[in-house]
């Protein structure tokens, strides 16, 4: 019986192809895309409707943001993501867009989202166009400031310390500026202390280097 239905569908499709040619091929590909992508999404983040779909507009599909100003969440350590969501909700980290959204999340949802984005592989910041001189200057500054001491080898992040390699340039710069100006504070005060020693040009160079740095395999 099932086979008959399949044959019927194929026969119908061949007839359509004869009539519409290119249009039918486009339709076939569209239907194929819907089937393949909904299966892939189901395997990746569960059945529809998905909580993660509330994040992808600003943070990109699977947490891969193509926008320098909206941060990528893919491959960020789960403990870091969870604590940032809690800090947005409590107001300890102030952001007018994220604050109210984080307040809607239950602890279970926070764990779910943090785990989901931590599982995604970090990819390079392909749409960033770095300037070589700034990258070189930023690399020196990162070594002097000892970024890797907290952010780990290759600046891939771990535990409460975010991945910096390949993050969006505008986002990195905004955070360095916020630490320097005191509008963002980290619990230990280390970032505030480091950022305060950097000039505006230094912060720019550092953001440039970090945005251009290719994430290592993790």
């Amino acid at each position: 019986m099932k086979k008959l239905i399949v044959l019927g569908v194929v026969a119908g499709f061949v007839a359509l192809l004869a009539c519409y040619g290119r249009d039918a091929l486009g339709l076939y590909r569209l239907m194929d895309h819907i089937a393949t992508s909904s299966e892939a999404k189901e395997a990746d983040s569960g059945s529809w409707p998905r909580l993660t779909d509330a994040c992808i507009g600003c943070h990109g599909r699977q947490g891969h943001s193509l926008h320098q100003g909206y941060p990528s969440l893919a491959g960020q350590p789960a403990p870091y993501l969870a604590s940032q969501l809690r800090r947005f909700a409590s107001g300890e980290r102030s952001n007018p867009n994220m604050g109210p959204l984080a307040m809607t999340l239950t602890e279970y949802e926070i764990q779910q989202l943090a785990g989901y984005f931590a599982r995604q592989s970090a990819i390079g910041n392909g749409s960033f166009k770095p300037e070589a001189a700034l990258v070189a200057r930023g690399e020196q500054l990162a070594a002097t400031a000892g970024c890797a001491a907290c952010h780990g080898d290759n600046l891939m992040g771990h535990d409460q310390f975010p991945r910096l390699a390949g993050q969006g340039h505008d986002y990195l710069l905004a955070q360095l500026n916020a630490f320097a100006q005191g509008s963002r504070k980290d619990p230990g005060g280390v970032m505030s202390a480091i950022a305060a020693t950097l000039s505006a040009d230094d912060r720019r160079a550092l953001a440039h280097y970090l945005a251009a740095l290719a994430p290592a395999e993790n």
Partner: protein, 495 residues
């Protein structure tokens, strides 16, 4: 890269000529909007003397604030000021000047059936309307797939599900969803929770997420069911009047672009609209005279109309602190829908000659919905699109090329020859909007609803979010402006 929002390779010369013309008009009067710091020679302007006490100060020169100001003016009151943080009026409406007198909106732009407040205002201001173009085939894209289909001026929604929502919406009053007899049951649920019980097929799932993202500000999982039903209630309890094109809230456009409503109202008010004047602190709101601390000094007024988004109200410092319930509402008010909208301009709407309507629905791509936003006569071709913010590079040129290539796949190689491109990301351009519509989550109205309308001392809450019908729309903004003008006039009478 953040700075560049427009590229007009062929229109730069035209633009320089236009700017010259604009400079000349400003010199002979123009709108007469004042900006910059008050100087001694201008000290006769109302509110300049710190000892002056105005009847009314209005915060925000968007549609709500300017409608309120216009009503006060029509009532004969001249003792008011409109304080605007930006260097322009119009709030979340914004015209992109294409050149040769053509415009495309890159903010709020449509009106529709039942939106009688904004329709009346347009008639009074002598602003004409015309239908959103939809005749022809829409292109649906996903992966390598492409389908041309005549949707007849709709988004192709599964009407069996939409009809159920319309029916349910009868029980959720648009202006006060928390008063619905079903509030306890429905405010616990997201739209996604409810759709999960409706056997939505895989090919329709993306459609619901896209529809809710555009109309509600977030995908189905974080959109409150009670709030969404209140939006359908605004649309005369008819889903299609909310979320379709023909005979719907996306069905009608304003000649001259939607920002023209605000520009015209501000033009009459002259220097009673003060630009680049953000309010940072409000003191004494519980006393007889309220003091507004702005970047251009203090302004004192008996009554204050707060014609700004609740999340922006939350950024102002209040002395004394606001009542706990109102403060909690402002702090929790969602602002995570920073729409990114683009306009691509062509010398003519070439797609129309192929039977295409210039609309694209895209699955899993940077475009959520693109549509033909050409001027009424179709003299030039303009495509607008809602963009999934982080799924298109922020780099201006890369974004332009990516979109051009998609348009070429949809409509042919003529799409590779645009004459201008504009990219407006409302979440990043300036801090004075934060968000487009309000993605009210489950539970919000049950917790915070009662704090939405009651004035706090001499602060009167306005803005489209407070409207009794069409909250979140331009029509709601106009309604809230009328409402707050009535409220302050009555309060002044009683004082």
């Amino acid at each position: 890269m953040a700075g560049k929002r427009t590229s007009t390779p062929y229109l730069d010369l035209k633009r320089r000529q236009m700017l010259k013309f604009a400079g000349a008009s400003a010199a002979i009067g123009g709108f007469g909007l004042c900006s910059g710091l008050a100087s001694a020679s201008e000290s006769t302007r109302p509110g300049d003397d710190a000892e002056d006490v105005l009847d009314v100060a209005i915060i925000g020169a968007g549609l709500a604030g300017l409608t309120a100001a216009r009503d006060l003016h029509l009532a004969g009151n001249r003792s008011f000021l409109v304080l605007e943080a930006r260097d322009r009026v119009g709030g979340r409406t914004l015209n992109f000047e294409v050149g040769d007198g053509h415009v495309s909106e890159v903010g709020g732009q449509w009106i529709g059936p039942g939106q009688t407040a904004v329709q009346d205002l347009a008639r009074q201001l002598d602003v004409g309307t015309f239908p959103q173009f939809y005749e022809g085939r829409t292109v649906v894209m996903g992966g390598d797939g492409r389908l041309e289909y005549d949707l007849g001026g709709t988004f192709g929604t599964d009407m069996t599900i939409a009809d159920k929502l319309s029916e349910m919406s009868h029980e959720v009053p648009s202006g006060a969803p928390w008063q619905s007899p079903k509030a306890a049951e429905w405010d616990r649920l997201s739209v996604g929770d409810w759709l999960a019980t409706q056997n939505v097929q895989p090919e329709d799932q993306s459609g619901w997420d896209a529809a809710l993202t555009l109309t509600g500000g977030v995908s189905v999982s974080k959109m409150g069911l009670l709030h969404y039903l209140s939006m359908i209630n605004s649309a005369d309890c008819d889903y299609e009047k909310l979320d379709s094109i023909k005979d719907s809230a996306q069905g009608t456009r304003l000649i001259g672009g939607s920002q023209i409503l605000s520009s015209k109202m501000a033009g009459v008010l002259g220097d009673q609209v003060r630009l680049q004047c953000p309010v940072r602190r409000i003191s004494g709101w519980d006393g007889e005279v309220v003091t507004l601390h702005t970047d251009q000094g203090r302004v004192r007024a008996r009554k204050v109309i707060m014609a700004i988004h609740p999340a922006l109200c939350n950024q102002i410092e209040y002395e004394p602190a606001l009542p706990a319930a109102r403060a909690a509402l402002q702090r929790a008010w969602p602002a995570h829908s920073p729409a990114r909208k683009i306009a691509m301009v062509y010398s003519r709407p070439f797609w129309r000659e192929k039977g295409l309507n210039g609309h694209i629905l895209m699955l899993d791509g940077p475009i959520i919905w693109a549509w033909d936003n050409s001027p009424p006569d179709g003299e030039i071709g303009i495509v607008n699109a809602f963009i999934s913010n982080a799924n298109l590079p922020s780099d201006h040129e890369t974004a332009r090329r990516t979109l051009m290539d998609i348009f070429a796949r949809a409509w042919g190689d003529e799409a590779l020859q645009p004459v201008a491109y504009h990219d407006q990301d409302w979440g990043r351009h300036d801090p004075w909007s934060l968000t487009c519509v309000s993605a009210i989550p489950p539970g919000f109205w049950s917790t915070h609803g009662e704090a939405l309308h009651p004035p706090c001392g001499n602060l009167f809450w306005s803005g489209t979010e407070t409207a009794d019908i069409w909250a979140g729309y331009m029509d709601g903004a106009v309604r809230s402006g009328h409402q707050s003008a009535l409220q302050v006039l009555n309060a002044l009478r009683q004082a």
